[in-house]
């Protein structure tokens, strides 16, 4: 999508009808609109937002009062904005929104050979299919409005931007609605149950689901707060490491080493506890069965001594000889003979070989049990010693850390260090507290989920006996399948996005920033910070923060373009649209301004820069001049006299252009063409 033109009619400062024709040239793709503060840059950007989506930016004051004051005074009661644009497949359209008294008229027409046909049905749907309104704010961008993405609320900005640019808005809404409908079905199901069993189970399910939602929220909350505390601690550590005081530096360095040692020791302690569990399961039988095994082995040994185990004769063989009346040597053994009596006597000492085999096996098992007790004793002793050593060392390291903390915060002459240290202690405590909370919530969640699954299975089983109940069960099952599909689609789309986004941001940064800085996205808090080559946080200047914002927005636009043809039909596809940016270079120094101004038009199809002279002057012009296709100047016309005020001009291509005119007939802003270079 590219804008062809915009026509403003009595919209804020723009009295009467004023038109801007944009450059749609593929190479000279920049339209520059010069405007000093208060002239109408923000109003111009908002005219676009209002026309397309009936919405305005947050910094647009008094959005209910859009009509131009002079026009209103003269008896006009309406205002309008019309935008002509060309779609990606080359079709041209006119979109027009007008407001008269209390009526809003919104229409879109296709332009065929210069003529407007009948209005397009469902114009809002049509415009949103070209550029979804939740993505539009990244294309029609208020340079100073987004807030610092590295600030305390920056994480929310980043998180929301990622979700919007990935087209989650609709899918998440659908997920919420299907969830609430599924809950309705569950309630209906329990009402349909005559026995009351289902109601009881459903009550438990409701309670568990509520609990699980709570745990899930808590896990998110505590994960984010832990990550935030860790980040703040890292920032404080960086400051202490760079302290001017050699003593503080030394102490902090020592603390770092002890903290590392403490961390290792804590891990060793955890490993020992884990080993203890393994030892218990490995040696439980030998420990608790030791007395029994000893007794049984003694018994077997005694029998061995008596000669009954192993038996001298095979019981089956003796029986066979007696039964067949024939010895294995072939001699006949008749009943009543001495030989027969002798063989019969052998039965007293004969045994079943299978039984013997079992006894032999039992004996070997019991021997293993008996012997492994020796190993068990050694292993348990070692484990107990390890645990004891770790506990001692942890205590020792913690003591040393407290001493260092007292030493650092006791450094009398360095107030800042004292404050930093106190803050550090506070953050450490909060971090520990939230880590414990996190573990608790994770544990509760892991315990509740299997209970819920079993209750749901039970409800399914009970409800299969009743037709009405079965109906609701089917509805619930389908609703659950839809929920799963939506959740998985979102989850899959989210996969890797942090990596993709940060790669893009860093790609832009490498072109803009002089130092060896890169951006780092914390996947828990979603905050983006600059780090140096040693992975240490860099305290950002206002200019660097703005730079980070711009690279972030440029990266989002790139992702949106890449998602343009996504047609999974569940997530909203991305968009290709003009980048209209109001006051983009606020706090950037000259060199950054030039680099950014040069890079933006190379990454989007069409750019509209709304620039005050402070943004324009310096290196911007030289960097983008070759790509400027159209250029305008907003002139503020004042009915008041000039009095002692000096003349205001802007220098463009060596020529001076007025930015303010006095003693004019009406107070208004005029948009005047400076040049067309296409």
């Amino acid at each position: 999508m590219k804008f062809i033109s915009i026509e403003l009619e009595n919209f804020r400062q723009f009295y009467g009808t004023q038109k801007v024709v944009f450059s749609i040239d593929p190479y000279k793709n920049i339209t520059v609109i010069h405007a000093e503060n208060g002239t109408g840059k923000t109003a111009f950007l908002n005219a676009i937002m209002w026309c397309l989506f009936n919405t305005t930016t947050e910094n647009f004051n008094d959005p209910k009062n859009i009509i131009n004051k002079i026009a209103k005074y003269e008896g006009h009661n309406g205002y309008a904005v019309a935008i002509e644009f060309i779609s990606d497949n080359g079709d041209e359209f006119l979109v027009r929104r007008s407001h008269k008294l209390n009526d809003d008229v919104f229409q879109v027409f296709q332009i065929i050979e210069g003529d407007y046909g009948t209005p397009i049905d469902k114009p809002a749907s049509f415009i949103n299919s070209i550029i979804p309104k939740d993505m539009a704010k990244y294309f029609f961008f208020q340079g100073e409005g987004i807030g610092k993405i590295s600030s305390s609320n920056g994480s929310q900005v980043v998180k929301q931007a990622i979700r919007e640019i990935l087209g989650f808005t609709i899918a998440e809404r659908a997920l919420d609605d299907v969830r609430s409908i599924r809950k309705e079905y569950r309630r209906a199901l329990t009402s349909a149950d005559k026995s009351g069993d289902l109601s009881k189970k459903q009550l438990e399910i409701d309670r568990l689901e509520e609990g699980l939602e709570g745990y899930s929220e808590q896990i998110k909350k505590f994960s984010a707060s832990c990550a935030m505390f860790e980040e703040k601690l890292r920032a404080i550590d960086t400051q202490l490491e760079n302290s001017n005081s050699a003593t503080i530096k030394q102490l902090h360095l020592r603390r770092g080493q002890i903290e590392q040692a403490l961390k290792r020791e804590k891990q060793l302690q955890i490993d020992s506890l884990r080993d203890k569990k393994t030892l218990i399961s490995e040696f439980a039988v030998s420990t608790f069965g030791h007395s029994l095994s000893k007794e049984v082995l003694d018994f077997i040994d005694e029998k061995e001594y008596e000669g009954s185990i192993p038996a001298p004769f095979n019981e089956q063989l003796v029986h066979d000889i007696i039964k067949n009346k024939s010895c294995i040597c072939g001699a006949a053994v008749h009943e009543g003979t001495d030989a027969f009596k002798c063989i019969q006597e052998m039965l007293k000492n004969a045994a079943d070989p299978m039984l013997e085999n079992r006894i032999s096996k039992a004996r070997s098992q019991l021997t293993v049990i008996k012997n492994s007790l020796v190993r068990a004793e050694v292993s348990f002793d070692r484990n107990i010693k390890n645990q004891f050593d770790s506990a001692e060392k942890i205590k020792e390291y913690q003591g040393k850390l407290s001493e260092i903390s007292v030493e650092i915060s006791g450094a009398e002459s360095i107030e800042t260090v004292k404050n930093l240290e106190n803050e550090r202690v506070r953050l450490k405590n909060s971090l520990e507290q939230d880590r414990r909370n996190l573990i608790k919530a994770e544990l509760s969640q892991s315990q509740a989920q299997p209970k819920l699954n079993s209750l749901e299975a039970e409800i399914k089983r009970l409800s299969s006996f009743d037709r009405e109940v079965d109906k609701y069960n089917s509805l619930i099952s389908v609703a659950e399948s839809v929920e799963n599909l939506l959740e998985n689609t979102i989850k899959n789309a989210e996969k890797d996005i942090e990596r993709v986004l940060i790669t893009k941001v860093n790609d832009y940064l490498s072109r803009f920033v002089r130092q060896e800085y890169s951006a780092k996205l914390n996947s828990q808090t979603f905050s983006i910070r600059l780090v140096d080559s040693n992975d240490q946080f860099v305290p950002e200047s206002d200019g660097q923060s703005l730079l980070l914002n711009l690279t972030f927005i440029a990266s989002l636009i790139e992702i949106s373009r890449e998602r343009k043809n996504a047609s999974g039909q569940i997530l909203t596809p991305g968009a290709v649209a003009p980048f209209v940016v109001d006051a983009p270079f606020g706090d950037l120094d000259n060199k950054y301004k030039g680099h950014v101004a040069q890079a933006i038009p190379n990454s989007v199809n069409q750019v509209v820069f709304l620039l005050s002279s402070s943004h324009w002057e310096g290196s911007v012009e030289s960097n983008i001049r070759a790509k400027v296709g159209k250029e305008y100047n907003m002139v503020l016309e004042e009915s008041a006299g000039k009095k002692h005020k000096g003349a205001d001009y802007i220098d463009i291509l060596g020529r001076k252009y007025e930015t303010v005119r006095y003693d004019c007939a009406k107070d208004k802003t005029l948009i005047e063409e400076v040049g067309s270079y296409v």
Binding site: A124, N128, A174, V178, S474, L485, L486, I570, T572
Partner: protein
């Protein structure tokens, strides 16, 4: 197999990938469309839950056929 054949196969695979493979996928897309009409479009929000209920109901009937 020439380039054209390979291209055709890729196109077919793409179409197959985008084609709803089951009723749940089809139903989900319908529900998403209802929401899309509401958030981006020109439809009023009041009937959306009712519309979704009808879709789920129809899907259950379809599954039981």
């Amino acid at each position: 197999m020439n380039m054209e054949d390979i291209r055709n196969q890729i196109n077919e695979a793409n179409i197959a990938f985008e084609t709803p493979v089951d009723n749940i996928q089809k139903l989900t897309r319908h529900i998403v469309n209802i929401e899309r009409q509401l958030i981006y479009g020109d439809e009023p929000s009041s009937r959306r839950l009712q519309q979704i209920r009808v879709l789920i109901d129809d899907a259950v009937k379809e599954l039981k056929k």
